[in-house]
Symmetry: C2
Subunit: 308 residues, 2 copies
């Protein structure tokens, strides 16, 4: 399995470069700045955080990779009911918050874990892939949601016809603000614990996950390009800031990755990079019936199939 | 014990009126608007949410009371390891977010719980008080922190000399953003599970808790009055919005009351009333050394004794 680890490690390196270049092209003015960091505490590794702020299109965004390893943290030992062991974890995680409320926020993540019985990390005892991508519009353009889903479905279909419906559904279930009774956005894909089985090897999951990652730019670029010059009003911006509050609520209350990172001493600034820049909470805010804002809410309360 | 329940129920009614009047006087222009709500689901009760928004002093704030009862929710049954039972819970909860960054945010809460073995709710098997008050400045005026603590200490000292040091320490421990290694603010009081013991009856705790509640206006009003006309710069407002982000992080990641409310179907808008109106997250924001902003951070990283 260590070949998978090395290949995935190279893959996220290259994917970070590819995505950052494409996003800089979309943005047209700002560039990503880079923060390399080393992991503190038991074990090793670190990451490369790339941040774009106050750009032409992106008000705030990050495309981060990390590779960390060492003794299993206590919460993971507990989760797997083991007394000792070590791990390797690597992944790419991105969030882009556009300034213009007509351009949707996008999030994606591709990750690989390996576990070992001992500290030598030579022979892994378990390994799995996880990840996905999801879109969070402030105003709903149905063709955007369709394009996003269609691109991801094509990547899925190259591997198995069941993957898109299954992982689309998992995405709707996962990115859900249960305390609001509404989805975070219009979904996409979410998958986790993709392990070797009799039908599907870990190499197959590697091919699948990396294929999904390569589809990211194509899933998002045309949407951002088409919406980024659209005019918008202060009222539409206000609505975007209200909705960003829901994004914060999801990430801080429900997102397993965020909470796990905060509670196991991950790098705070890289984790909370996902939070939007300017956010607003009004008491009991409701859009008026029949407005575009109400139409979006209705879609979030009743997740749809985007490809028929 | 049902006399305590009735008395406390009247007490929070009156206290809500008293605090709202005092805060409207400070504000000078906005008035609280009122939302009465009924509890959904098993049991009964409801609350009276009072909200002030876009005022002269208060950008957003709420002073809420609620009285709810019914069958114990599953998480509480689990917590107390019981199969059945019912509860009564009543309390007042307030958060005030001033517009001017020189005026600190304040939060306070006073609550009473009773448990019963059965659904008739006649004879309670357990009862306890909880609550406290804490101050969150954006710029540190030491005399404000001292006044706030001194007022609360006087109220504590009328009951027992150990209460202030004990509940001050619990407040520092509770309102702590462990993922940031910093306190939410300059503290105050925090107490919970104040039950009848050999030395202290539930009536004594009633007197204590209601005394702390009556001290609220005096603990906060002079601070707000003295700071509300102070000039401030856009840069100071920016810092306030960054710090408000930390307030959101605490409430959504760590605050037991908020998370419990969100996960047991409390009234979302009354619970999330505590979130500030305009909030900002920058990547890796750090104040420059030697500035007022850095001085505040230093105080939050090293909680102090405010009364020597």
């Amino acid at each position: 399995m260590s070949e998978i680890k090395d290949n995935f490690s190279n893959y996220i390196d290259n994917l970070q470069n590819e995505i950052c270049s494409a996003m800089e092209e979309i943005d047209g003015s700002a560039r990503f700045r880079e923060d390399d960091w080393d992991r503190d505490g038991g074990g090793g590794g670190g990451g490369r955080t790339r941040v774009i702020e106050k750009g032409g299109v992106f008000e705030k965004g990050g495309v981060n990779i990390s590779r960390v390893w060492g003794e299993l943290p206590d919460p993971i030992k507990k989760h797997f009911d083991v007394d000792q062991g070590s791990f390797w974890a690597g992944g790419l995680s991105l969030v882009l918050h556009p300034k213009n409320p007509m351009v949707p926020t996008v999030h994606a993540n591709y990750r690989y874990f390996e576990l070992y019985d001992d500290e030598s990390m030579t022979e892994s005892t378990d390994g799995w892939f996880g990840g996905g991508a999801d879109l969070t519009p402030y105003y709903l353009f149905e063709e955007d949601a369709k394009h996003f889903h269609k691109t991801l479905k094509s990547a899925c279909d190259r591997h198995h016809p069941d993957y898109y419906p299954e992982f689309k559904k998992e995405c709707d279930n996962y990115f859900y603000n249960s305390h609001r009774g509404e989805a975070r956005g219009v979904g996409g894909l979410f998958f986790d614990y993709l392990r070797a089985t009799e039908e599907t090897s870990l190499d197959d999951w590697y091919e699948f996950t990396t294929d999904i990652g390569r589809a990211f730019v194509e899933s998002y670029r045309p949407i951002a390009e088409q919406r980024k010059e659209m005019p918008y009003t202060p009222g539409q911006r206000y609505w975007q800031e209200i909705r960003r509050g829901r994004y914060v609520e999801f990430n801080l209350v429900h997102d397993r990755g965020t909470l796990f990172g905060l509670k196991t001493g991950g790098r705070i600034e890289s984790i909370l990079m996902s939070l939007p820049p300017e956010v607003r909470w009004d008491y009991d805010h409701h859009p008026e019936e029949g407005t575009d804002e109400a139409k979006l809410l209705d879609t979030l309360k009743n997740p749809r199939e985007w490809i028929s």
